[in-house]
């Protein structure tokens, strides 16, 4: 295992023994430099957490069943925003460029090389020759143009890809294998965006042929080909025998090892666990924290904590409402809520604590804000006293006859986190009401500011994505702290356009410091996806964005 692995990375010693040839490669996630053009050394060094590919050929053949916690909505990269869809699409499609999970640089994919003009507005890609989509359509510059033009076409109603291409102006087909992309505005995260499967290249022939139903009949250039989708039951993909154009950092070349992968969506945790433990499925996503610990202790499985880059799981404090409109109360939370206790109580200590808005495995993570608010109960109490909140007769603090009561609105599956927060804030004299709801409701409440505390993590390989939760343009969206700060907005806007990585890092650091000084949010832990993997599955490791496994590399014992 890589020495750079983060401490929360979990690999079973016994598995290493079973692995024999050292064909163990695990987990966690690397981050991604968003630098345009030639990859340069990152100014701030994040900690990549994915191990390099293990050497040694895997045995071709065999199939696995892979359980996710929901069924994808569509396998059209232009039309979905769901993690489960990304997971499947990564096998069906290729991107123009790929991000190496270890050295964090961009490597060739469907594009062999690329260059940018100094103004960062024009990017020319030399495309790989001899690549064919699964339906036989040749891959070329026309295909790139057709895909990107389709994504930005309002008729496509693209939920995610279109926002990644917000700066897109046009694509010019220079010749069959040269595509020139022009941007409207500078966009520092352009290469990062291109490396995400949302911008993968699909067969234009198939898109025309299937029209609105393309998402059920996906055709890409990837290592696996779509076979069938039985709604609410399974999605089956099979090996593409012609595949020979994977990124250079994969553990082999040529076709994938596995003959077939069957993806199933099982939302019920109990059923997903039973299917995994009875051997029906070989890879299980979203293992409940409590069961993760039990399965790990059983010694029968590879249990994987795969960290995601972006923002940690964070509590957002609604600054428009009392008591969090008072910075002293927010600072009291920053000092008074014990992160480690929270992670231990709610999540069996599986995650590593995080205390800044950009996770430490993400590009431009700055150490400057780390440790700014150490856990200190006395300090927390003093802040509350300064804010005028005095202990009441029943232990709950009171000010002007009002009790210090806040609503924590969260997803039902996150209820342990909310309950632990409630218990940990009680000694401070703060009463936390638990509001555990379904996703659609709690998101709507967050958008409306209906509540005092909300939480979410942000999965993105580019740290500029924090604007989604801190920029005032997202008030009424995911700016759940309801921050309206012109200075912060400017920092976030400037970094998004800054082509110089050093300057961009400095801008992001200033933004982070501003967020921390104002105590707008309470980062809790580094978000990670929890996998259970059968010991028969070899070479399981994950992709930088959102921790999706490279199933191309996987083989069976």
């Amino acid at each position: 295992m890589s020495k750079r692995s983060s401490p929360n990375l979990i690999t079973r010693r016994r598995f290493i023994k079973i692995g024999g040839t050292g064909a163990v490669a695990v987990l966690a996630v690397a981050c991604a430099p968003a630098a345009p053009a030639a990859p340069t050394a990152a100014p701030a060094a994040p900690k990549p957490t994915t191990a390099p590919a293990a050497s040694g050929a895997g045995k071709p053949g065999g199939q696995i069943r892979y359980a996710m916690n929901n069924e994808p909505d569509s396998l059209d990269p232009a039309k979905t925003a769901q993690a489960s869809a990304f997971n499947v699409m990564m096998n069906l499609y290729d991107t123009l460029i790929w991000q190496d999970p270890v050295d964090l640089k961009y490597k060739s994919g469907l594009a062999e090389s690329w260059e940018s003009t100094p103004d960062g507005l024009t990017h020319t890609f030399k495309l790989r020759k001899g690549v064919k989509f699964h339906d036989g359509t040749p891959f070329n510059a026309e295909a790139v143009k057709a895909n990107f033009d389709r994504i930005v076409d309002p008729a496509t109603k693209s939920p995610q890809a279109a926002s990644k291409l917000a700066a897109y102006q046009s694509t010019t087909v220079v010749d069959e294998f040269t595509a020139k992309i022009t941007l409207k505005t500078q966009f520092a995260a352009f290469y990062d965006a291109l490396s995400q499967t949302w911008l993968a290249i699909a067969s234009p022939t198939a898109q025309k042929k299937f029209g609105d139903d393309y998402g059920r009949n996906p055709v890409g250039t990837g290592p696996m080909m779509f076979k069938e989708w039985v709604a609410k039951d399974r999605i089956v993909v099979v090996k593409n025998p012609d595949y020979n154009w994977g990124p250079p950092f994969w553990n082999h070349t040529g076709p994938a090892y596995l003959d077939q992968i069957t993806f199933v969506g099982i939302s019920e945790n109990g059923a997903r666990l039973t299917a995994f433990e009875s051997g029906e499925i070989q890879v299980m996503e979203t293992v409940p924290e409590g069961d993760f610990d039990r399965l790990k202790k059983s010694g029968k499985y590879q249990m994987v904590v795969a960290r995601t880059p972006g923002s940690p799981m964070t509590i957002f404090m609604n600054t428009e409402k009392a008591p969090f409109n008072d910075i002293n109360v927010r600072k009291a939370i920053m000092h008074g809520l014990n992160r480690t206790e929270l992670i231990n109580a709610a999540f069996f200590g599986l995650y590593s604590p995080a205390d800044t808005p950009i996770a430490d495995n993400t590009l431009y993570h700055s150490k400057k804000a780390v440790g700014m608010y150490p856990y200190d109960m006395e300090k927390a109490k003093k802040y509350l006293e300064d804010a005028g909140w005095k202990p009441g007769p029943d232990g709950v603090r009171v000010k002007n006859g009002e009790k210090l009561v806040v609503d924590f609105v969260d997803l039902t599956t996150y209820e342990p986190k909310v309950v632990a927060t409630q218990a940990l804030l009680k000694p401070l004299g703060i009463t936390v009401n638990v509001k555990a709801l379904d996703q659609a409701t709690r998101v709507a409440m967050g958008h409306k500011g209906d509540g005092h505390m909300f939480s979410t993590a942000l999965l993105d390989s580019d740290p500029g994505a924090i604007q989604l939760v801190y920029h005032s343009r997202n008030l009424g969206g995911f700016d759940w702290s309801r921050i309206k700060d012109a200075e912060l907005d400017k920092l976030l806007d400037d970094q998004a356009k800054e082509p110089d990585t050093t300057k961009r890092a400095a801008l992001l650091e200033q933004a982070v410091m501003k967020i921390m000084e104002n105590a707008w949010s309470f980062p809790i832990y580094n978000f990670a996806r929890l996998f259970g993997v059968s010991p028969k599955v070899k070479n399981f490791r994950t992709h930088p964005i959102g921790s999706y496994p490279y199933l191309y590399e996987v083989s069976l014992e």
Binding site: E280, I281, A440, F478
Partner: protein
């Protein structure tokens, strides 16, 4: 009879319109943003969210949305699912066979077990056998089906490894869901069969039949049971509706395909067109089943006639 059926079917139209309006407007009262159906768990910018709301027509006034829904529904178009981006009718069609299969199998379980236990209990009332069968029935009524389902999973999939825990394909994946779903209904049918049969067995014609020297078995099956079945058939019809409703839970517990699981996904995702479509469909099924139940009385009891 034909006029009767036609009348009943025509009467269903206002019912379905009422249901559609009720569902449509109550969905709008439920908190939660239908945009979730499109964006899922993704964190997206407010500008993108506004753009998508506009593109998917979520900003239109309520009555406009409803009228356009009704207008299309009359022409047989239930709209497109926000979540799955394909016609609602295709989603229903894809899930229907699995639910029908599950419901039918559960009905077989319910009838076999329910009638069996009910008859056993009725022919030896207040005996040990009666006590035992009625205890089983009591358990069936009181254990929630999701719990029974999880217990079966625990025993037959995890501990014994005899049956697969999830999925739809094949007979072996039908056994546990059908047993779980059928068990609750079986319990109700058993209790009803017992009391109805006991009542009939007290009738004088039964005594006459016995006095004429017919065997007890013949009397029970040929004379008593047929008369005892009328209330049972009513409840079986109602149970069919319950089984459909129960499929929502069972399909989720066993991760089976089906209308129930489709509905859960649609509701959680605030996929309004899909929720509408599925509920209208299920409501139509209820209407038809009720009609069939009414018609079946005439088959069982020749004295009942419809005009």
């Amino acid at each position: 009879m034909g006029t009767y059926i036609l009348k009943r079917l025509l009467a269903a139209i206002p019912i379905l319109i009422g249901i559609s309006a009720l569902v449509f407007f109550s969905l709008k009262l439920v908190p939660g943003d239908p945009l979730s159906a499109i964006t899922g768990d993704a964190v997206i910018g407010k500008e993108e969210a506004d753009r998508l709301r506009e593109q998917y027509g979520l900003n239109d006034a309520l009555h406009v949305q409803y009228l356009s829904f009704v207008g299309r529904a009359i022409q047989g178009d239930l709209g497109r699912s926000l979540q799955f981006k394909r016609p609602v009718i295709d989603e229903i069609r894809a899930q229907l066979p699995a639910t029908l299969q599950l419901t039918a199998a559960a009905m077989v379980v319910a009838l076999t077990v329910g009638l069996g236990l009910g008859i056993l209990a009725a022919i030896r009332p207040h005996s040990l056998l009666d006590g035992l069968t009625m205890s089983i029935a009591m358990a069936g009524v009181s254990f929630p089906s999701f719990w029974v389902g999880l217990m079966l999973l625990l025993i037959f999939s995890l501990a014994l490894g005899w049956l697969p825990a999830t999925g739809t394909e094949g007979f072996e994946r039908l056994i546990m869901p059908a047993a779980t779903l059928g068990f609750g209904a079986a319990a109700i049918i058993a209790r009803l069969t017992r009391s109805s049969l006991l009542e009939v067995l007290q009738q004088q014609y039964i005594v006459t039949a016995r006095a004429k020297g017919l065997s007890f078995v013949k009397v029970v099956f040929r004379h008593a049971l047929r008369n005892a079945l009328i209330p049972v058939v009513t409840i079986v019809g109602l149970q069919f509706g319950n089984l459909l409703a129960g499929a929502v839970v069972i399909e989720t517990v066993f991760s089976r395909q089906g209308i129930g699981r489709l509905l859960v996904t649609a509701i959680l995702g605030r996929d309004f067109p899909l929720v509408q479509g599925v509920i209208l469909f299920v409501a139509s099924v209820y209407v038809i089943v009720n009609l069939l139940v009414d018609l079946s009385y005439a088959l069982i009891d020749p004295r009942i006639r419809y005009a």
